[in-house]
């Protein structure tokens, strides 16, 4: 699209009644989806730093084979809280923040469908964040049963107290589930009901498709997790026997409840990142998203498949052979829609006019690490191989390539890409690139060595290990510390740019999309006049206008 027509699309700056630079709004019960979006993102990032600090203590412990830096109980509490905080206080809130901020802008809505519900869902996040943090200070310390909380270990309560780390953990996870269901109802309704005129399904940006696909998973999966959590809480506190083998319960039943949600949950996490990739590659390669309709629909295919594969987390558990084989086959199919997306991104980038600025670097780095993770994922789907590496560091390496490599890198890509829109300011490119280099090296140095360690037979969740694993662990620890360092240029960049970065303008990337047609930061209700969409979302290289009413305004 030529520059001239791009500029013609930009409405004149609106007066901004919401005074976006008034920082106090971020501490109130605001119902503006943009405020809530930033509240989510900032809250999540604080917990990311906290959980990252816990991880660095763990990496410190793993520098040497002996359990010497912290007590074993402390180590076990650390990895439990690290995993829990990273998932429930960082990834999920961060994704909800992005979805909150971007979806209404991208579909041409003035706000979410239920603004009060939206604010309520957000304010639950600090509540369960505080509960989880407080569990460090109750007698007996936080939960030490891992983020799966498998019984019977999670039912063993050495303090004998009713209020203990484990019961607080269950309470927090249940609240998190409620908050996520509230968010999911809101987002799904918004996407179904509030798209601007003309925005048919196949004119909707892929990010919105992926958010929809992800939130549908929350709606069907979370009830199972919540049911499992409530039964676990009853077993723990009032002595019921759903999962307690001493009283005739079945601990494997809990695993089914847990993974019926928690496998799909990994797709709740990755799908919106697929959306971020799909938004970013066209902008910085200046080409339309290759195979847009297929990329969009494959998100929903993944949603469907993600509901029938959970037993691949139980290949070495008390599952019979036929069940292992059945779920091996279903799991393998999920790599097909995923592969289609990867090839589509590569084809989007191929032959483009590529600009390697920070968002693009993070997106490309994230894609490369995702390809690696997808390949180890298929290996894990192969039951006979998984039996060797199940519960070893190989699995830990796999999912950190996904969750750090693709998801965290995707988050960073998104933050840099939409930072000018959110704040009206430009970040500093040099610091951004430094941040990328440190993150990319740190993540690979941290998580690659976990694969050989796992292949050699190093179990996960260990405070001490046999000396043969020391070499890979030292490398991983160095990578871990580097990742800690990598957040410094990011924080510096964000804080100083937000305070006094150069003015960004409404559309610094010359990107196509409704969010780029409004001022930066967008006015209180986003659109003065709701736009009428007439084209597909990624019209790079062609001269069609995105919306109809722009011409009238000229």
């Amino acid at each position: 699209m030529s520059n001239a027509s791009m500029e013609a699309l930009q409405p004149s700056l609106q007066p901004q009644p919401g005074a976006p630079d008034n920082w106090k709004r971020f501490f109130t019960f605001s119902t503006d989806h943009k405020v809530i979006g930033i509240q989510y993102i900032v809250t999540a990032f604080v917990f990311f730093l906290f959980a990252g600090l816990l991880a660095m203590v763990m990496r410190g412990e793993l520098l040497t084979p002996e359990a010497d830096l912290v007590d074993r109980t402390v180590y076990n509490g650390l990895f439990t809280m690290h995993g829990t905080l990273m998932l429930f206080m960082w990834t999920f809130p961060m994704l909800n923040g992005l979805a909150n901020y971007l979806v209404p802008l991208m579909i041409g809505a003035r706000d979410m469908a239920f603004p009060r519900l939206n604010a309520a869902a957000f304010w639950l996040v600090p509540v369960f964040g505080v509960i989880l943090t407080a569990s460090f200070f109750v007698p007996g310390g936080p939960s030490q049963s891992g983020w799966w909380a498998y019984p019977p270990v999670s039912l063993q309560n050495p303090t004998g107290n009713l209020i203990n780390g484990q019961s607080l953990w269950i309470l927090a996870v249940a609240l998190s589930g409620i908050s996520s269901i509230m968010g999911a109802v809101n987002i799904v309704t918004t996407i179904f009901r509030m798209r601007a005129p003309g925005m048919g399904w196949f004119k909707m940006p892929v990010f919105c498709w992926t958010v929809l696909a992800a939130q549908l998973i929350q709606l069907f999966g979370l009830p199972a997790l919540t049911a499992g959590a409530v039964m676990l809480l009853f077993d723990l506190t009032v002595g019921t026997s759903f999962f307690n083998p001493e009283l005739g319960g079945d601990p494997v039943l809990y695993q089914h409840f847990f993974w019926f949600y928690s496998h799909p949950a990994v797709y709740v996490i990755i799908l919106p990142i697929f959306g971020v990739f799909s938004e970013i590659f066209p902008v910085y390669a200046r080409k339309p998203l290759f195979g847009y309709p297929v990329v969009a629909v494959s998100s929903l295919v993944i949603t469907g498949l993600s509901g029938i594969v959970w037993v691949h987390h139980m290949f070495a558990s008390g599952t019979p052979g036929w069940m292992r084989m059945l779920f091996m086959f279903t799991t393998m199919t999920i790599s097909i829609p995923t592969g289609i997306k990867v090839f589509a991104w590569v084809a989007t980038v191929w032959g483009g006019k590529i600009r390697l600025n920070t968002p693009m670097l993070f997106a490309l780095g994230g894609l490369i690490m995702w390809v690696f993770a997808g390949i180890t994922g298929i290996m894990l789907a192969s039951a006979p191989f998984d039996i060797h590496v199940n519960n070893t560091y190989f699995v830990v390496g796999h999912f950190h390539y996904v969750i750090y490599g693709a998801v965290v890198m995707g988050f960073y890509a998104a933050i840099y890409h939409w930072f000018p829109k959110m704040t009206g300011r430009m970040y500093y490119e040099g610091l951004g690139k430094l941040h990328f280099v440190l993150t990319f090296i740190g993540a690979n140095l941290n998580f690659f060595p976990m694969h050989p360690a796992g292949l050699m037979g190093m179990p996960r969740r260990v405070a001490s290990y046999d000396p043969e694993f020391a070499f890979w662990n030292v490398l991983a620890s160095l990578g871990g510390f580097l990742l800690g360092v990598s957040t410094i240029p990011f924080l510096l960049n964000m804080l100083s740019s937000w305070a006094r970065g150069p003015e960004a303008g409404d559309n610094p990337w010359r990107a196509i999309g409704l969010e780029w047609l409004v001022s930066s930061p967008p006015p209180h209700e986003n659109f003065d006049e709701i736009p009428v969409v007439v084209s597909r979302p990624y019209g790079y290289g062609s001269d069609e206008p995105l919306i109809a009413n722009a011409s009238e305004k000229e």
């Binding site: 699209m1 007590d71 074993r72 109980t73 076990n76 007996g140 310390g141 891992g146 498998y150 270990v153 063993q156 303090t159 001493e246 079945d250 601990p251 200046r286 080409k287 339309p288 290759f290 297929v294 070495a316 008390g318 019979p320 052979g321 036929w322 084989m325 059945l326 091996m328 097909i336 592969g339 289609i340 990867v342 090839f343 590569v346 191929w350 032959g351 006019k353 590529i354 600009r355 894609l367 490369i368 390809v371 390949i375 298929i378 290996m379 192969s382 006979p384 191989f385 039996i387 060797h388 199940n390 519960n391 050699m456 037979g457 001490s464 046999d466 019209g539 790079y540 290289g541 062609s542």
Partner: protein
């Protein structure tokens, strides 16, 4: 035009050349994959390692193909500094999209099939199960060189010790002795929480579920001492809950059974128990509450936990 045709042909040659290079590199990496794993000490390990080699080869092919393409773009397809024009408005290509759906699907079905064959050959839980599912179990020939049916050795897991009980000789031990080249039959049980029976050199693993007895089998094929680890997180001293498997000749095995049977039971060394006692004497270690470890097992044959393994 002549030049154009020449250019196009050269382009195809370059692509073919790169594809061959990618294939050769991937085959080489696949061959390396055997060296990333512990020694092959069971019949199952040979099957699993071949499967891993296959998946590593295919995985490398995909990884270097995709990432190589991306890196080529990143280096050679950059926009010149002041060029603000767009790239070509290509929205898709049906032929290409069909290819990259169908070919990976075939590859995936192949990998799934090879995995099925491998699992079926291992038979660690006996046969795969309901034939009603219609799954063929053609190569049902057992891999053992000779089949000797004996009572299964009982594997008793607890927080945090392993105890092995040989019912025919009434021998208990804290290390697991097995005769080489014979199908090992184990009965896995747990007295408290989930544990996992994991011997990396055998490539086998099975969670142990309290309240159930799980029949588990495999065939050791190489004499030596191997690490046995608890693989399913079992609480405070989980990491210390390790033992050894000794694979020895039939004669040595019988000798060991006889010697063990002649010894009267004594308490074994136990790392979890020892560490726990030490932390009780020094309560300022900074730990949180823990489940108390079971007393060290009282057994006919107690191995010291400092002993070596491969």
């Amino acid at each position: 035009m002549f030049y154009q045709r020449w250019f196009k042909q050269r382009w195809i040659l370059v692509v073919i050349g790169l594809a061959i290079a990618d294939t050769l590199l991937s085959i080489w990496i696949g061959q390396q994959s055997y060296r990333w794993l512990p020694p092959q000490a069971s019949a199952e390990s040979m099957l699993v390692d071949d499967l891993f080699c296959l998946m590593t080869t295919i995985g490398s092919l995909i990884f270097f193909g995709v990432v190589g393409t991306l890196i080529y773009s990143m280096i050679f397809q950059r926009a010149p500094k002041y060029d603000t024009s767009d790239g070509p408005p290509i929205e898709g290509n049906l032929k290409l999209e069909v290819i990259w759906t169908v070919v990976p699907s075939i590859v995936i079905v192949g990998v799934a099939f090879a995995s099925y064959q491998t699992y079926d050959g291992m038979k660690i839980l006996g046969d795969i199960g309901p034939k009603a599912l219609g799954m063929a179990t053609a190569n049902a020939a057992p891999m053992t060189t000779e089949v000797v049916k004996t009572d299964p050795i009982e594997v008793r897991a607890r927080q945090w010790a392993w105890e092995f009980y040989y019912p025919e000789q009434a021998v208990s031990s804290t290390e697991l002795h097995l005769p080489v080249n014979q199908r090992a039959n184990l009965k896995l049980s747990s007295e408290d929480v989930l544990h996992g029976f994991f011997v990396p050199a055998f490539r086998i693993k099975q969670d142990i579920i309290p309240g159930r007895e799980i029949d588990f089998e495999f065939t050791p094929i190489r004499e030596g001492r191997y690490r046995l680890r608890d693989s399913d997180y079992s609480g405070t001293y989980f990491a210390a809950n390790q033992s050894v498997v000794v694979v020895e000749s039939e004669a040595d095995y019988q000798d060991w059974l006889a010697i063990a049977a002649a010894q009267s039971p004594t308490p074994a060394q136990n790392r979890a128990y020892r560490e726990y006692q030490r932390s009780r004497q020094n309560p300022n270690g900074g730990g949180w509450a823990t489940v108390e470890p079971a007393a060290p097992p009282v057994v006919n044959y107690a191995s010291s936990d400092e002993e070596s393994y491969e």
